[in-house]
């Protein structure tokens, strides 16, 4: 999704990681983690895609993803997919430990909370469900945002409610997904923030799509883009 729709997010993530001292490799064979197929109940097809992911990334030391949902797919659901294939399962377990969501990588692996960013705006943060509940990520992005010069963070209420994307749910239950998005943007607009920040491009697409349809000037940005700002 980043590759095709939000390339700036990928570039921003690379810039920040380089700034912190890492050298970046982008294995060109990568395409997808298979989550859409898995969530739609097509496990055989998901396995096909997951095997491709394993092949692509197996040799890598550390894999960082600008997405809570993709990371959770690999670290929490690949094992489920290959329950009955011990050899592949072993490869999955070996890989799982080397995959991180971007914000967590910075705080927990790089041990960094200040990446020298500057973004003098009022922002609010949207906790994507996979990052929040599957990966337990709540503090890391906030600690990173706290060190962005000039940035004011306002929390939205109610907090921690799903934006309504849910993968194919967004189109299969479009009206319902839209209603959930509208409830989310009401909460956003209440904060008065001009920017919504999140860890997940899928949430950002849903939220920005709803904001745009509502004619709101509020925009969304991935955390990487905020951290890359100077």
């Amino acid at each position: 999704m980043v590759d095709q729709l939000f390339p700036k997010v990928g570039i921003a993530m690379a810039e920040v990681l380089e700034r912190v001292g890492y050298s970046i490799d982008f294995p060109e064979n990568q395409t997808c983690c298979g989550q859409p197929a898995f969530n739609s109940g097509y496990r055989a097809e998901a396995r096909t895609v997951a095997r491709h992911f394993l092949d692509t990334f197996e040799g890598c030391e550390r894999i960082v993803a600008p997405s809570g949902s993709c990371t959770a797919m690999v670290t929490h659901h690949f094992a489920e997919l290959f329950e009955k294939e011990p050899e592949t399962l072993a490869r999955v377990h070996a890989l799982e430990k080397r995959v991180w969501e971007f914000a967590t990588f910075l705080t927990d692996v790089a041990g960094v909370e200040d990446v020298g960013a500057r973004f003098p705006q009022v922002v609010t943060f949207h906790d994507g469900c996979h990052a929040l509940r599957e990966l337990g990520i709540r503090a890391a992005p906030r600690r990173l945002l706290a060190n962005v010069r000039g940035l004011e963070l306002r929390e939205m209420l109610p907090a921690e409610e799903c934006c309504g994307f849910g993968g194919t749910f967004a189109v299969k239950f479009a009206e319902l997904s839209g209603a959930m998005a509208r409830t989310k943007i009401e909460a956003i607009l209440q904060t008065g923030a001009g920017t919504v920040v999140s860890l997940d491009p899928s949430c950002l697409m849903q939220i920005q799509g709803a904001l745009s349809r509502a004619g709101s000037p509020v925009r969304t940005m991935h955390l990487a883009e905020v951290l890359a700002s100077r």
């Binding site: 095709q4 390339p7 109940g41 097809e45 469900c129 993968g167 799509g209």
Partner: protein, 470 residues
């Protein structure tokens, strides 16, 4: 999805008043839970304990049912196993005939809703009156419950006024306290005249042969204490090993359900009244209902569905339930728990779209006091739906599409090409988000997306193209 499901969802979303009622009521219940469990320093340990007790019990269900049965009978009660709705009705009707009973009072029981007990009894000329206020209102209105714990969540005081005026022939009354007083007066007479009281049970306590019933109104106490005959109808999964386990479950149940520390009344009832006790029933029956529960036992992951203590927390926190409400669901159980129970009881073909009516946000699993991994079960059920479709040769186009997707993304060069083609076809505006696309691109998913929100403009260069240029 079925036309019916789609229509019900649409109608609920379109009803602005209903949206406010559902969202507002569940907001209060949701916040109540958050506040009360926040006050429990050992909340997570209690959840772990509750899960462990349920897991152990369900894995040894036959043993605990037999222990329960022995102890009920030791106290002078009787246990009746019923495999389905018909057997429950037959038992109650048979007993009513034996006792020459005509009037039955009932306290709240989702299990009896499951088997349409009232309808069956009424069909045979018995009067069976719901005594929980919300259930009573719905009985008068001929409706099913809207929520596991707050059955009349969707009714305003004006709805209630209409129902009472029409069905009870009283003067129109819109003040809630007075409406409650009307119901209280009518039902008091019923309690005192009833021949049989039928209740549900929150827990069946194996080591005691007792049923535990949690409530706030007092109608369950009256139902189980005033008439001479008391029948409990409960699913076989309600059993717990010991009375002492109630210390764990009672702490979790009210806090999770309504944000109370404890419900107003918790009754622990073991058999008919003992010698010397002044009141209480002379006869005590417990109906143990299967009705498909045994179908959920074989699968290790799915059998967790039977741990449910019917607190309703998952409903209150579910962003989907809070928009589509209880009546959009095809069966008596709604919300996330309904979404996993229904396909398992009724078969996935009953409503194949049901496991997909979720964004998999995981809030339900997070609040479940017995730690049922609801999202995991939803994912398993989705896979079951696809397997069923494959067998029945249904929905082949979608399956083909996903096969195609899997093929494409395992051929990176082709994937990249496809991306460039799609991007070139999309309308290039000033970088603003897109509200409409040319007909060629307006495939069903695109159309569905655009019905609710805009699409991002495809970037001039994909990430991999930008990366190569660095």
């Amino acid at each position: 999805m079925s036309v019916e499901f789609d229509q019900k969802i649409h109608d609920t979303l379109a009803d602005a008043n209903l949206q406010l009622a559902i969202y507002g009521s569940t907001a209060r219940l949701k916040q109540g839970r958050i506040d009360r469990v926040g006050e429990l320093p050992d909340y997570q340990e209690l959840r772990t304990q509750a899960n462990a007790i349920k897991k152990h019990t369900i894995e040894n269900l036959d043993y605990y049912l037999e222990e329960f049965e022995r102890n009920v009978e030791a106290r002078g009660g009787k246990v009746v196993y019923c495999k389905d709705a018909t057997e429950v009705a037959d038992f109650v009707l048979g007993l009513a005939k034996e006792k020459d009973a005509h009037l039955i009072v009932k306290s709240k029981s989702m299990t009896t809703e499951e088997v349409d007990l009232n309808e069956r009894l009424e069909h045979h000329g018995l009067e069976s009156v719901e005594t929980d206020l919300g259930e009573y209102i719905l009985q008068l209105a001929h409706e099913k419950p809207y929520h596991i714990v707050a059955p009349a969540l969707h009714k305003t005081r004006y709805d209630v006024a209409d129902i009472f005026t029409e069905r009870l022939h009283v003067a129109r009354e819109t003040v809630i306290e007075k409406q409650t007083a009307i119901a209280r007066a009518v039902l008091r007479e019923k309690f005192l005249a009833a021949d049989i009281g039928i209740s549900g049970a929150n827990f069946l306590v194996a080591d005691s042969g007792a049923v535990a019933i949690i409530e706030n109104e007092g109608n369950a106490r009256l139902t189980t204490s005033a008439p001479k005959v008391h029948i409990t109808v409960a699913g076989i999964e309600k059993v717990i090993p010991r009375a002492q386990d109630l210390a764990t479950f009672l702490k979790l149940l009210a806090r999770s359900a309504t944000g109370q520390l404890l419900s107003v009344y918790a009754s622990f009832l073991a058999g008919p009244r003992r010698a010397g006790e002044v009141d209480g029933p002379d006869e005590f029956y417990v109906v143990l209902l299967d009705n498909g529960r045994t179908k959920l036992l074989p699968d290790r992951a799915k059998r967790q569905s039977l741990y449910c203590i019917r607190c309703g927390a998952c409903l209150n926190t579910c962003p989907v339930y809070r928009k589509i409400g209880g009546h959009s669901f095809p069966w008596v159980y709604s919300g996330p728990i309904g979404a996993i129970l229904t396909p398992q009881f009724m078969g996935v073909a009953h409503e194949p779209a049901l496991p997909f009516a979720s964004s998999l946000c995981g809030a339900c699993g997070e609040v479940c006091p017995v730690k049922i991994d609801i999202p995991k079960i939803l994912l398993e059920l989705r896979s079951d739906v696809r397997k069923s479709e494959a067998r029945e040769k249904q929905n082949r186009l979608e399956k083909l599409a996903f096969r195609g997707f899997a093929w494409l993304v395992t051929h990176p060069a082709l994937y990249e090409m496809a991306g460039r083609i799609a991007a070139s076809m999309a309308p290039s505006e000033d970088g603003g988000w897109i509200s409409r696309v040319p007909p060629l691109m307006n495939l069903p998913p695109v159309k569905a997306w655009l019905s609710q929100r805009d699409l991002p403009p495809p970037p001039r260069k994909s990430f991999r193209e930008l990366w190569r240029q660095r």
